[in-house]
Amino acid sequence: MSFVLNDEEQMLRDSARSFLSETAPVTAFRKLRDDNNPDGFSRDLWSSMAEMGWTGILVEEGHGGVELGVFAAGLLLQEMGRTLTPSPFLSTAVLAATALRVAGSDAQKAKWLPKIVSGGTVIGFAVDERARHNPEHINTTAKKQGNGLVLNGTKRFVANGAAADAVIVVARNEDGAPCLVLVDCNQKGVTRKARRTVDSHLPADFTFEDVALDGDALLDGAEDTEGALKHILDVGRACVAAESLGVAEQAFDVTIDYIKNREQFGVPIASFQGLQHRAAHLLSEIEMARSIVMKALRTLDETPSQAPIWAAAAKAKATAVSRLATSEGIQMFGGVGMTDEYDIGLYYKRAQAAGEFLGDDAWGAGQVAKLSGY
């Protein structure tokens, strides 16, 4: 396992960085927010991501993808974290694509994966039903009825829910075992309520009331659906951890830049040891987060059976470090850090939301204890 980027990965990251800083900088995010964009992201940008092959980064070539792997997907999200770029990449190209890949039948893959690759659809991944993430708290049911299924339950804060054409819902079957069903949002019995969050993203709450589904809505291609679900969530965690890392890195960079230039008492405030030690501590923490996020992403590609503890630990570390980096950022910016005009507050808000998604640091710590056997 290598902790350095190979040439291909280096190129991918460089091209993503230049593309995002030109096409989707923080000013573009501000405009989406101020225009009250009903999707919460730019459809044009989503099309560009498809043109560049990003939407197919986890999809095999047979279905039109480039299948570069989880590490590559993480690299892209890290860059999106730096520019605070909202898009359906995480929900659709990472979570939904992985769900179809590991749990979909051949027919389901053939139907949905090319649509994801082309950028022609937005698919949400609906797992949580309560305020805090916990994939064991599933009360939604998908029970057999004739040749089809009937779906009942509620899901909260489904990422990209406001714009989604369909959602993959984690439910329990008639035996109480977890299952995955793909539901069209226009289906009768589906109601959704968009929720604007602190980071200006637009997830939605979904209610499913006696939703009648065809048998082929059930993703039944995996031998072990419960194991597949764990893997999908771990891929999502490692990838959102990469986004949090990008948030932390950029927040740190702009903060260091600021304290080098801001003068008080006739000198740059970066010359004060009170700030120097905090900055050096932050860099140390960011280096730690960087290493463990790389480790989790690589493990998912190379030895996925060993990935659960790394995904949980990386998620926890990246969550904690991104919140620390952004809150320290506001403190070091001082009063202007509290203003909407400065970007640091936007990073602080995204760090909070991304940290919550699929389990925060406390949740990750609980998993690590469990997986370590203590």
Partner: protein, 392 residues
């Protein structure tokens, strides 16, 4: 020879030559072989293991053969390390000569100095200690005042060193001595090798909060050392010291991830786990889990820094990040060991050899963030060299 052939031959040789007593992990300080003129081997196995490994140059696998090393490439040395780990073989010899003086002599020493001193380090015949800190020169090391005055072809040395690890058990000392009284602070220091049997050199152990005395005060009263014992040029001592400190930091960092008691083991020892092996106190369990996460992140960082170094990126001031994070982590581990052990951890001495060990190790770990440059000095280095923040 291909790496695979080397691996096989190494495995066979180790299998045939590592005595059984050396295939169980060292329990503590007492099981480590430090060597030296006055060394008493803990067992025949320990003596035999050192002799056999030294014969092959494998106490210092990457040093050149002509200086007593094994002449191995970095990759071969790594294979040797892996194979030793696989059979739980102990290190045949540990010493400051291997970790610190050796690398400095290889880089800055004269041919005579290398031939004289390196083979004796490799064979464990001479034990070295390090004379850096002084009562008035701790974090501000370059303000040291131990003085060397030239008299013919000898320096006459006067002054005092402190925190000299194992000075009372060592045969030679490498010391920083101010030889150019009028030169600027950092430029007047020389790196001098001094035999501890030289008249005028004396030591006195310092009793620590752990009850142990690994550190000493070392005094020089008109002690004489030949000019030929200066490593590098007179006045070049500070550069050599900095180079050597980076090796010391690497050593302290590896302590942070090495074995020893961890809080989960401690909770089991104290009987503070439930029937499923889960730590009984949920808040303590959470604290331990957060430590595990940080330890996994640190372990990953060590791997990453190594991969980056193999690719040609310098470690440089990142060593300071590793030293800072690694030592703070190790202190946290010992604190949590003590929490998990509860009152059992407070034991100072008892019938069994290991009684009191947890408390003493915990107390010892407090020095990790002081020795080899304090955490605060590491943060200064990161702020200045990595982040390039302006001076105050």
């Amino acid at each position: 020879m291909s790496l695979e052939t080397f691996r096989k031959e190494t495995r066979d040789w180790l299998e045939a030559n590592c005595p059984p007593g050396m295939r169980v992990p060292a329990k503590g300080e007492a099981d480590i072989c430090w060597g030296g003129r006055n060394w008493t081997f803990a067992s025949d196995d320990q003596r035999i293991w050192l002799e056999r490994m030294a014969e092959r140059g494998w106490t210092v696998p990457t040093w050149p053969k002509e200086y007593g090393g094994g002449g191995l490439s970095k990759e071969e040395a790594f294979v040797l390390k892996e194979e030793m780990k696989a059979m739980k073989a102990r290190s045949p010899l540990d010493s400051f000569g291997i970790w610190m003086l050796g690398p400095a002599l290889l880089k800055y020493g004269s041919e005579e100095q290398k031939r004289e001193h390196l083979p004796k380090i490799a064979r464990g015949e001479i034990r070295w200690c390090q004379g850096y800190s002084e009562p008035g020169a701790g974090s501000d090391l370059a303000s040291l005042r131990t003085k060397g005055v030239l008299d013919g072809d000898e320096y006459v040395i006067n002054g005092q060193k402190v925190w000299t690890s194992y000075a009372d058990k060592s045969d030679w000392i490498f010391a920083l001595v101010r030889t150019e009284a009028d030169a600027p602070k950092h430029l007047g220091i020389s790196f001098i090798l001094i035999d501890m049997e030289t008249p005028g050199v004396s030591t006195k152990p310092i009793k620590l909060i752990s009850g142990k005395s690994p550190f000493c005060e070392t005094f020089f009263d008109d002690a004489r050392a030949p000019v030929s014992n200066v490593v590098g040029k007179p006045g070049q001592g500070w550069d050599i010291a900095k180079y050597l400190l980076s090796h010391e930091r690497a050593g302290i960092v590896s302590d942070a991830v090495s074995g020893g008691l961890n809080p989960v083991g401690a909770a089991h020892l104290a009987g503070e786990v439930d029937e499923n092996g889960q730590i009984a106190d949920p808040i303590l369990r959470g604290d331990v889990a957060r430590l595990t996460i940080d330890a996994l992140a640190f372990e990953s960082t060590l791997r990453r820094v190594k991969d980056e170094a193999d690719k040609g990126e310098g470690v440089g001031a990142k060593a300071s990040i590793l030293k800072y994070v690694g030592t703070e982590l190790n202190k946290r581990r010992h604190e949590l060991n003590m929490s998990a052990l509860g009152s059992d951890g407070l034991l100072w001495e008892g019938e069994k050899e290991e009684d009191g060990e947890a408390a003493r190790s915990w107390l010892r770990s407090r020095a990790n963030s002081i020795e080899g440059g304090t955490s605060e000095i590491q943060l200064n280095i990161v702020a200045k060299r990595v982040l390039e923040l302006p001076g105050s």
